[in-house]
Symmetry: none
Subunit: 74 residues, 2 copies
Protein backbone atom coordinates (compact mmCIF):
# COMPACT_ATOMS: atom_id res chain seq x y z
CA UNK A 1 0.00 0.00 0.00
CA UNK A 2 2.61 2.49 1.11
CA UNK A 3 5.61 2.79 -1.16
CA UNK A 4 8.79 3.85 0.70
CA UNK A 5 10.38 4.90 -2.62
CA UNK A 6 7.62 7.38 -3.31
CA UNK A 7 8.58 11.06 -3.15
CA UNK A 8 5.48 11.54 -1.02
CA UNK A 9 5.70 11.10 2.74
CA UNK A 10 3.98 8.05 4.18
CA UNK A 11 1.31 10.19 5.84
CA UNK A 12 0.55 11.86 2.50
CA UNK A 13 0.18 8.47 0.82
CA UNK A 14 -2.06 7.29 3.65
CA UNK A 15 -4.15 10.45 3.33
CA UNK A 16 -4.57 9.93 -0.43
CA UNK A 17 -5.44 6.25 -0.02
CA UNK A 18 -8.10 7.01 2.54
CA UNK A 19 -9.51 9.77 0.35
CA UNK A 20 -9.69 7.35 -2.59
CA UNK A 21 -11.46 4.71 -0.53
CA UNK A 22 -13.99 7.25 0.62
CA UNK A 23 -14.53 8.29 -2.99
CA UNK A 24 -15.04 4.73 -4.24
CA UNK A 25 -17.32 3.81 -1.38
CA UNK A 26 -15.03 1.38 0.45
CA UNK A 27 -15.46 3.58 3.48
CA UNK A 28 -19.03 4.75 3.08
CA UNK A 29 -19.75 5.98 6.57
CA UNK A 30 -17.19 4.72 9.02
CA UNK A 31 -13.49 3.86 8.92
CA UNK A 32 -11.86 0.79 10.46
CA UNK A 33 -10.31 1.20 13.88
CA UNK A 34 -7.04 3.15 14.06
CA UNK A 35 -4.97 0.10 14.92
CA UNK A 36 -6.49 -2.00 12.13
CA UNK A 37 -6.23 0.73 9.51
CA UNK A 38 -2.67 1.53 10.46
CA UNK A 39 -1.73 -2.13 10.13
CA UNK A 40 -3.62 -2.47 6.87
CA UNK A 41 -1.89 0.54 5.32
CA UNK A 42 1.45 -0.45 6.77
CA UNK A 43 2.02 2.72 8.75
CA UNK A 44 2.38 3.48 12.44
CA UNK A 45 -0.51 4.84 14.44
CA UNK A 46 1.14 8.23 14.78
CA UNK A 47 1.59 8.43 11.04
CA UNK A 48 -1.98 7.39 10.39
CA UNK A 49 -3.20 9.89 12.95
CA UNK A 50 -1.34 12.63 11.08
CA UNK A 51 -3.09 11.68 7.84
CA UNK A 52 -6.46 11.44 9.57
CA UNK A 53 -6.06 14.81 11.28
CA UNK A 54 -5.58 16.44 7.88
CA UNK A 55 -8.80 14.90 6.58
CA UNK A 56 -10.58 16.02 9.74
CA UNK A 57 -9.31 19.56 9.20
CA UNK A 58 -10.62 19.38 5.63
CA UNK A 59 -14.06 18.39 6.89
CA UNK A 60 -13.95 15.02 5.15
CA UNK A 61 -13.98 13.12 8.43
CA UNK A 62 -15.09 13.69 11.96
CA UNK A 63 -13.65 11.80 14.90
CA UNK A 64 -15.78 11.00 17.92
CA UNK A 65 -13.97 9.95 21.05
CA UNK A 66 -14.85 6.43 22.04
CA UNK A 67 -16.56 5.72 18.71
CA UNK A 68 -14.41 6.14 15.65
CA UNK A 69 -13.83 8.12 12.47
CA UNK A 70 -16.91 8.92 10.38
CA UNK A 71 -17.28 10.18 6.82
CA UNK A 72 -19.15 13.44 6.65
CA UNK A 73 -20.01 13.31 2.94
CA UNK A 74 -18.59 16.75 2.23
Amino acid sequence: MIDPRSPLYAWEQARDLIRARIADGTYADRLPAEVDLAHELGVARGTLRHALSVLVDEGVLVSIRGRGYFVTGR
Copy 2:
Protein backbone atom coordinates in the same frame (compact mmCIF):
# COMPACT_ATOMS: atom_id res chain seq x y z
CA MET B 1 14.31 22.03 34.90
CA ILE B 2 11.21 19.96 34.28
CA ASP B 3 9.32 18.99 37.43
CA PRO B 4 7.45 15.67 37.09
CA ARG B 5 5.29 16.63 40.08
CA SER B 6 4.05 19.77 38.36
CA PRO B 7 0.39 19.87 37.34
CA LEU B 8 1.60 21.11 33.97
CA TYR B 9 2.57 18.64 31.26
CA ALA B 10 6.26 18.33 30.45
CA TRP B 11 5.74 20.01 27.07
CA GLU B 12 3.95 22.95 28.73
CA GLN B 13 6.80 23.43 31.16
CA ALA B 14 9.30 23.28 28.29
CA ARG B 15 7.24 25.84 26.34
CA ASP B 16 7.15 28.20 29.34
CA LEU B 17 10.88 27.83 30.00
CA ILE B 18 11.75 28.63 26.40
CA ARG B 19 9.40 31.61 26.41
CA ALA B 20 11.07 32.90 29.59
CA ARG B 21 14.54 32.51 28.12
CA ILE B 22 13.50 34.40 25.03
CA ALA B 23 12.05 37.15 27.24
CA ASP B 24 15.21 37.50 29.36
CA GLY B 25 17.50 37.45 26.36
CA THR B 26 19.09 34.06 26.95
CA TYR B 27 17.92 33.12 23.48
CA ALA B 28 18.26 36.40 21.62
CA ASP B 29 18.12 35.20 18.04
CA ARG B 30 18.69 31.46 17.80
CA LEU B 31 17.89 28.47 20.01
CA PRO B 32 20.21 25.55 20.74
CA ALA B 33 19.69 22.48 18.55
CA GLU B 34 16.70 20.29 19.40
CA VAL B 35 18.82 17.43 20.69
CA ASP B 36 20.88 19.71 22.93
CA LEU B 37 17.91 21.67 24.22
CA ALA B 38 15.93 18.51 24.92
CA HIS B 39 18.83 17.08 26.90
CA GLU B 40 19.31 20.35 28.75
CA LEU B 41 15.63 20.54 29.73
CA GLY B 42 15.47 16.85 30.57
CA VAL B 43 12.72 15.94 28.10
CA ALA B 44 12.56 13.72 25.04
CA ARG B 45 13.00 15.29 21.63
CA GLY B 46 9.39 14.59 20.71
CA THR B 47 8.21 16.41 23.80
CA LEU B 48 10.43 19.39 23.03
CA ARG B 49 9.22 19.46 19.42
CA HIS B 50 5.65 19.64 20.69
CA ALA B 51 6.54 22.67 22.80
CA LEU B 52 8.42 24.29 19.92
CA SER B 53 5.56 23.73 17.46
CA VAL B 54 3.27 25.69 19.76
CA LEU B 55 5.69 28.60 19.83
CA VAL B 56 6.01 28.44 16.05
CA ASP B 57 2.23 28.58 15.74
CA GLU B 58 2.23 31.61 18.02
CA GLY B 59 4.73 33.35 15.76
CA VAL B 60 7.39 33.49 18.46
CA LEU B 61 9.74 31.17 16.58
CA VAL B 62 10.41 30.06 13.05
CA SER B 63 12.13 26.79 12.21
CA ILE B 64 14.33 26.29 9.20
CA ARG B 65 15.32 22.76 8.25
CA GLY B 66 19.06 22.23 8.35
CA ARG B 67 19.59 25.50 10.24
CA GLY B 68 17.65 25.75 13.47
CA TYR B 69 14.98 27.65 15.38
CA PHE B 70 15.06 31.43 15.27
CA VAL B 71 13.40 34.06 17.43
CA THR B 72 11.18 36.35 15.41
CA GLY B 73 10.97 39.15 17.95
CA ARG B 74 7.19 39.26 17.87
